[in-house]
Symmetry: D2
Subunit: 147 residues, 4 copies
């Protein structure tokens, strides 16, 4: 197993600013490791909503999380300014896998890099369903090389 | 007891944008009532840090929470854009009480109005200490009428 | 205004154990002030669910939060063992107000005492509705003196 | 890549009960994917504290998170009763990797299985340090087969 390395900014086609909260920091004085996932989850859903692919009231389609992961390279902490980079490393028939990077503003190496796999499901049965072409076209705009 | 009423924007001398997260919404599809306090806490600490009154690494002085409260007038929900208004209703010798309003962007009546009392304490003994004049002067810039 | 005082255990007719989490502690090394509200909210909903007054899938009736508050008397911190006391101080036609106390296990004075007002609403219109008699009877078992 | 599979209970040498909270559920009515990590983090730190390997006030040694991951096999939701299983899959010179399983009470297949790597660091420099033998002996009691 090769040791994971920070990602450069150039790896991510899309960026979003992230606002941290006082209580994101734990007793070590840094952002707790679970907060990274709140930020990944929100960034992905923000992007889906902005692109008309998820209704905030959750009618229609749903994307549910099947797998997540994160490598932590450097501590982040409120009240730092954070930017989140986002790309898609795999676009399957029913699932999509994102790579996400958290960057301290002004730095070029990710402080943390995450993986986040969403499955497109039927809202009621929660069984996987083929991703519609209109969504596939949008996802394709974020495609980057797989790990 | 008179029934609490929403606050108009004009009541607050200072505003900050607030970024909501996907998991701020609970099963009712709206922002959970405890999240309001995360936002109040962060806004107050942001302001203290921006004004040089709190070191992010928590050396020196500390402001600890003695009392909080919130009236909820309307539901808020991710992914709405929220603005937080802030004023100070009471400036005592060792404590300061904030009024905070959460507004859906573009509306004039608070969806929720909070109270938040900080006590200035010694970091080690955690006993109340007189608020220094330099802080008092900064707090005075946010003073508004008490409830 | 009289200064709020800790509540003795005898004030609360009902108790529940509470499990804290590592990330409940903030950089001050104590439980963040917003976590108290997560615990109040969960305890009240736990009790409603245990008594058949709230369906976990949120079909049927709903109780939504109208007002909350908390006085903090002593610091609590993960990994301490915490017990939550619960009583009802006001039972109106459409609303119910709880008093909640958080106690470090083995102590008799609350480290924090909260207020929590739920309004019984129609799930769809979210307008207040009269609390049904069956619920009223259950609430009555927790009635204590108002503040 | 083989598709991840749920873990049986027999895989984990140690179990802890987990208490969920109302706000752990997100708008899909299930436990948000980031909450799993709060539970992993707390369980690991609970175990370290119970075994005298971490001081709650964070004096002395520190274990900081280097990598985490989770596969989600089934939805979990408040107010279900959850049990967390825990084992160690790798014990290096400065790091330790846990496998964690979340089980709905009474079921034998994990609803989610996580990975969690802690690095033993100097509290001040935050540089990796050799895990002391006394800790190594305790960790060895949880060793299980690697993935």
């Amino acid at each position: 197993m090769t040791r994971p390395q920070p990602s450069p900014r150039a790896e991510f086609p899309h960026f979003r600013p992230v606002q941290l909260r006082w209580n994101d920091n734990d007793p070590y004085g840094h952002m707790n490791n679970a907060v990274h996932y709140q930020l990944f989850d929100s960034a992905v859903n923000d992007w889906l909503i902005d692109n008309g692919m998820l209704q905030p009231d959750l009618t229609g389609v749903a994307y549910m999380v099947a797998a997540t992961g994160c490598d932590y390279f450097a501590e982040l902490a409120y009240p730092e300014r954070i930017e989140l980079g986002m790309g898609i490393t795999r676009l399957g028939s029913t699932s999509v896998t994102y790579r996400l990077g958290l960057f301290r503003a002004g730095t070029d190496r990710s402080a943390a890099t995450g993986r986040f796999t969403h499955v497109h499901v039927d809202r009621n049965t929660r069984r996987p369903q083929t991703i519609p072409d209109a969504h596939r076209d949008r996802f394709a705009t974020l495609l980057i090389a797989a790990e």
